[in-house]
């Protein structure tokens, strides 16, 4: 080999686009492909039987592709209208039907919607306004506890013989939760917003822990939270009269035998409430992003000093970010408490805050689609994929399966190596890989992509080298005052 670094490499010949790609990019072809892909996946999902040995494996191979299909649709070259219709059919018809076949999937999709809502709220604070909040779960916790305190049969402060708040008040408590969470968001914001970056993160972390400790200890002197045992028997929203018959008739039409219709209907109700809330949250987030408020947040994230000098009221805008982010958590909090019928301090640990932050980062800070994708992936990893691998190993162990060729008895698989035990490990590993290879997240907003790919020396920086010695730089310490 000769050294020829000084000779410019010949320009690579323009790569002809592979004909396959062109073919797929035709809307008609893409549409057909997506529909048939969905048909296959749904067929397998519906045909799977929980009793069979390989169920966990198959379910892991088919449910994630199904639930992630909206993103395939969004990336396809179809018209916006077609995409919207397809996604609506998926979300409003196909998912509930699959949920009637197997309630496990419905539960998963409710969890995903809940976490997506939370992640979108955190995204307002961290992604839009650039304020790192490590105690986000606290807003969620407070509101979940409020609904639980009023309706759980354990705590007796507000509940006189369990009659004070009727179940239908659930719908009333969602807006109440929104307002309360927003107020707490502002309350936390007022003293904290003078802090920036790392300092802000530490304080919010402390706030999150404080709320958890309060939840754990407010069983004395009056029993508000029932301490570490948590509040159980939280009320669910009432089922509309017709809904049970409706579910039953749909199940009958589809030829599914549902052992007990009521819990399925209950889950379906939660699913639709979650979808409605998520839809509203997405709309609100999108409208905020595309407005003077959204631009002001971006400006603050980019350069606080310049933003305030250009007339952006720093404190008001930051408070607004905290309040709206918290408000999303408030709406979801009521739903969460009612769905679980149980809240305890352990549901609102730092772990959860970190998980939600990870969803935002994996998906793509600042982008709405990306954050939902992140919520899906992290929730699936947490609740389905790794658990299923463990279940699969157990199932194979029970039938004493021997792996051919290497002659390995699954029976001998050490319990220490169970995949579910490595949940956090896989999670951490995923984060490391992501941050190295795709720091902007899977579906970043255009702006974030910009920020992350700036390794080349830019004209601006080069020019700065030529600048005369800069005397006094602006000291931003007291910008947040007043």
């Amino acid at each position: 080999m000769t050294m020829n670094t000084s000779i410019p490499a010949p320009a690579p010949a323009a790569k002809p686009t592979p004909p396959l790609r062109d073919w797929i990019r035709q809307p008609r072809v893409a549409g057909t492909l997506i529909v048939s892909y969905l048909a296959v996946v749904i067929f397998i999902l519906v045909k799977l039987d929980r009793g069979t040995v390989l169920f966990p494996l198959w379910s892991t191979l088919t449910f994630p592709p199904f639930i992630l299909s909206p993103f395939v649709i969004m990336a396809s070259p179809l018209r916006m209208r077609t995409k919207a219709i397809m996604i609506a059919i998926l979300v409003l018809i196909l998912m509930p039907v699959i949920g009637i076949y197997d309630g496990g999937y419905l539960e998963l999709s409710i969890q995903i919607a809940i976490y997506a809502g939370l992640a979108l709220g955190l995204n307002i604070v961290v992604g839009f306004a650039g304020l790192l909040d490590l105690g986000y779960i606290a807003f969620f916790a407070v509101v979940a506890y409020i609904w639980a305190m009023f309706t759980s049969n354990v705590a007796t402060v507000f509940v006189v013989g369990h009659l004070l708040v009727p179940a239908w008040a659930f719908y009333l408590f969602i807006p109440i939760g929104v307002v309360v969470a927003a107020l707490i968001g502002m309350l936390l914001g007022l003293p904290v917003l003078r802090l920036r970056g790392d300092y802000l993160a530490i304080v919010t972390l402390g706030f999150g822990e404080m709320i958890r400790v309060l939840a754990r200890n407010l069983d004395q002197p009056v029993n508000l939270t029932n301490g570490s045992q948590g509040l159980s028997g939280v009320l669910r929203p009432p089922l509309p009269g017709f809904s049970i018959d409706f579910t039953a008739s749909i199940a009958k039409t589809l030829g599914i035998t549902v052992a007990n219709v009521t819990p399925v209907t209950q889950q379906l109700l939660f699913y639709f409430i979650a979808i409605v809330l998520l839809r509203i949250i997405v709309l609100v987030a999108r409208r905020l992003d595309d407005s003077p408020i959204g631009r002001a947040w971006t400006a603050i994230r980019e350069d606080e000093v310049a933003a305030i000098a250009m007339g952006v009221p720093l404190v008001r805008m930051k408070l607004l970010a905290f309040a709206t982010g918290a408000a999303f958590a408030g709406a979801i909090g009521v739903l969460y408490a009612a769905k679980q019928t149980f809240v305890s301090p352990e549901s609102f640990s730092l772990d959860q805050s970190i998980s939600i932050l990870a969803m935002v980062i994996v998906g793509g800070l600042g982008g709405i689609q990306g954050v939902i994708l992140g919520a899906m992936i992290v929730t699936l990893l947490n609740l389905q994929i790794l658990t299923n691998f463990s279940l699969q190993i157990n199932a194979l162990r029970n039938i004493d399966y021997v792996v051919p060729l290497i002659n390995f008895h699954i029976r001998d698989w050490p319990p220490q190596l169970e995949p579910a035990k490595y949940q956090r490990f896989v999670f951490g590993f995923l984060l490391i890989v992501m941050m190295i290879f795709r720091p902007e997240g899977l579906l970043p907003s255009a702006r974030r992509r910009q920020e992350m790919h700036s390794n080349q020396a830019e004209p601006q920086e080069l020019a700065r080298l030529e600048e005369p010695v800069v005397a006094a730089e602006v000291d931003p310490r007291h910008l947040n005052e007043g």
Binding site: S291, T298, I308, V312, P313, L314, S454, R464, A472
Partner: protein, 261 residues
């Protein structure tokens, strides 16, 4: 007087960055503040725009005191500025940068943002149109959709000026707006500053090092040294002021190019 600064002082620790400065700026004028590095010029701008709070002194702008106002309130009152080291929102587009500059003049109520009554759309359209109009004014009309960090240095300075103009100021403070420019670019910039005053009726105050620019454009010059105002007057008066020549153009100039030691 559009702007009247009286006995303004500010110290950091033991260092008196600005000492007892009084400056008046006439409406519709172009003035410069000059002085050696570290003379307190940028500190003076930061005091006027609310980024620092003065220890003592008065700042009256358009019949209203600016003392105690936050930077965003100063901006809303009609004083806009640019920065010595360009502070554009680097990852926003050029147009978005200018649109942020209009923030103080916009109705940003939450309910309108969420419910989008007809007025909201109209306002957004107006913001966009005005953004393009300002970009045209500074000669950047075709660059609106470029990400500002990718722009050449001189263009970034222009965008920063357009962003400052976006708030409809009465007074614009330009902190070394021609730093790093070659003579051609400086000449273009000078004509831009004149047009800001002539076509838009905005009073201009510059901090400048480039004497060609200072002498060519200023109607009135104030000279700072060690935080104090040592001279003021027309360019001709300043050019011949021995104290200025000594402080600013260098003591060596008076000592026949001999190192002073």
């Amino acid at each position: 007087m559009l702007l009247e600064v009286k006995n303004l002082s500010k110290s950091f620790g033991g260092i008196k960055a600005v000492r007892d400065i009084s400056i008046g700026i006439e409406e519709n004028s172009i003035s410069s503040i000059i002085g050696p590095n570290g003379a307190g010029k940028t500190t003076f701008f930061n005091l006027m725009t609310g980024i620092y709070k003065p220890d003592t002194g008065e700042i009256n702008f358009n019949g209203k005191s600016l003392i105690g106002l936050r930077p965003d309130q100063v901006n809303a009152a009609g004083v806009a500025r640019t920065f010595q080291s360009i502070r554009l929102f680097a990852n926003m587009t050029v147009l978005e940068n200018v649109m942020v500059g209009m923030h103080a003049r916009l109705d940003v109520s939450l309910w309108k943002t969420l419910l989008r009554p007809p007025g909201f759309r109209t306002q957004e359209e107006h913001v966009r149109e005005k953004g393009f109009e300002l970009l045209e004014f500074v000669g950047m009309l075709d660059k609106g959709n470029e990400v500002s960090r990718n722009m050449p240095y001189g263009d970034q300075r222009r965008v920063e000026i357009a962003r400052a103009l976006a708030s409809n100021p009465k007074l614009i403070l330009l902190d070394e707006p021609t730093a790093g420019m070659n003579p051609n670019e400086s000449a273009d910039a000078m004509s831009l500053f004149r047009r800001i005053r002539d076509e838009r009726g905005i009073t201009v105050v510059l901090i400048e090092h480039d004497m060609r620019v200072v002498m060519g454009i200023s109607e009135y010059i104030s000279v700072l040294d060690y935080g104090e105002k040592i001279a003021e007057g027309s360019p001709e008066a300043i050019r011949t002021n021995t104290r200025v020549v000594e402080a600013y153009l260098g003591r060596r100039a008076l000592e026949g190019e001999q190192p002073a030691s």
